[in-house]
Amino acid sequence: MASTVQPAPRSRLGQWLNERLGLQGLAYAVPEHANSLPYLLGGITFMGFIVLFVTGIYLAQFYHPHPADAHESVVYIITGAPLGDLVRSIHFWTAQIVTLTVLLHMLRVLFTGSYKRPREINWYVGLGLLAVTLGLVFTGSVLKFDQESVEALQHNKEAANVIGALGGWFSAEFSRTVPLLTRLFNGHTTILPMLFGLLILVHIYLIKQHGISPKATPDTVSRSMAGEGESRFSVHLWRMLGYGLFVLALALLLSLLFPAPLGQPGVAGAEVTKPWWMFVWLFPAEAAWGAQALVIVPAILAVLLALVPTLDRSPYMSPARRRVLLIGAGLILVVIVISGIVATLQPVAAHLD
C-alpha cells in the first residue's frame, strides 16, 4: 500500500525490502521548511553519532581501559594501530561537531517554540539526549588518561562529593575490583550508548507521532502536524545524509590538519590544564564558589530548561510573541559565552581543595 507521505519504492530492491521489512511504515510527513539546515540539525547530529559509533568500535579494539595501561594504549593507537591516529582524530573532531550541532539544535527548538504542546515530552527527551551527549563527551575525554583527563576526573570526584549518595558511583570506593577509569569506559561504551539508543528511538517516535513542528510565522499556533507535509520523507533523509557527509568531510579535514591532541601521562593532585570548550565556561563559577558550582550551576540550567514548556504556555510559536523567554535565554547564553571566553583567556588556576 502506498503511503501518503512516501510513495512506494520504484527500484526492485526497494520494493523487495519494503515488502519484507515494511520500511515505508517508518516514514513520516515532512513539511518543506523541515528540509532547511536549521531543522536538519537533529538529523545531522544523528549522522555524526553514526560516525562516532563506527570509529568508537574500532578504537575499542586497541584501547586498554585500566589506569596502568590507558595512556600507553592511546599512544599505541596513535603510533602503532593501523589508521589509529586518523580514526581517533575523526572520533575526536566528530564529537566536537556533534556537541555543537546538538546545542544548536536545542537553540533552534527553543527559538522556534517547537517544545510547545503537544511536543513537551519530546523536549524532555531531547534534554535527556543532550545530557547523554555531554556525558559521552566527558567520559570520552577522561579515557585518554593524560594530565587533562586526570584533572577532569579529580574535578568530577569533587563534584560527586557535593551530590553525596547520588555521586557515589564516581568514588574509588564504589568498586574494589574495578577502577573508576574502567567503569567510565563501560559508561562510555555501554551504559550511555544504550541510553542514547533508547532516547533517540523515543525522540524519533514522537516526531513521527506529532509531525515536525509548523513553521514559526507570526500567527502560527503549535499543533500536531501528523500526516501533514508537502515534501517527501526520502527528500528529508537524503538531505540529512548529505549534511552528514559534509560533517564527515569536515571531520576528515580537521583530522588531517589538527590530529586529536594527547597530553603527557596524568599526575594526580596537580592543576596545569583546562577542560574542553564545552566545560570550560564553568571555571569562573568554580573559582568563585568552589566545587559545588560544578553541580549547582548545571543543575540550575537543567531546571530552567526543564521549566521552559511550563513557563511559556502560550500557543504561539513566533519568536516575536515570546520575547521575554527568548531575551532571558539569550542573556544566559551570553553569560555562558563570556564566561567561557574569560576562562579560556585567564591563566590556569588551581580550583581543587
Binding site: 596513535i78 594530565q147 575490583t177 577502577p179 538531505r239 564527515l248 568531510a249 579535514l253
Partner: protein, 173 residues
Amino acid sequence: MKAYLVRALIIVVVLVLTPVNLVWAHGEPVIAVEPAVAPAGGQITVIGTEMEPGEVFAITLEGPAGSIPLGEATATGEGEEGGFTAAFTIPSDVAPGSYIVRAATEEGEVATADLTLTEPSAEASAAPAMVVDEPSGELHALDRAKPAGQIAAVAVMIALSAAAGFVLIHKPR
C-alpha cells in the same frame, strides 16, 4: 500519582542534601596518591587536604584480598585548614592489581583514592624512593607524520564526501 511523585522527590532531596550538609558543615577530607600507578615494593606519596590540624589518619591499602595497613599520618596546618604529605612503602609481596588507598580517622572521617600496583621491578627494590613525575600541560611529543598515500586517500575521501553531500542536498525533489 501525585503522592508517588512527592515521595520520590523527598527521597531524592534527602539523598542529595544530607551528605551536602555534612560536607558544608565539617569539610570532607580529600587524598591524592602519587604516582597513581606504582610497582609493588615501591613508594607512594599520599597528599591529604581539607583536614583539621591534629587529626590522625590511618592509611591502609585495600584490595580484593583485604586490607593492608601502611602507617599513619597526622594533619598539620593553621586554623581550620590542615593536611599532610606522607610517603609510604608498598609491601613487595602485594599482588599487582587495582587497589584503594584509604585514609580514616577514629571518628569515622574517610578519604580514598585509586592506586594501581604493577609487578615489583628491580628498579623499585633498588631505589625505594620513587621520583614523582612533574605534571605538565604540554602535549605528548609523538611522531604523527602520515605516509603520503594515506594523506592522498584522505584528501580523496574528503572530496568525495563533500561532493556526495552537495549532490544529495541539491537532489531534485
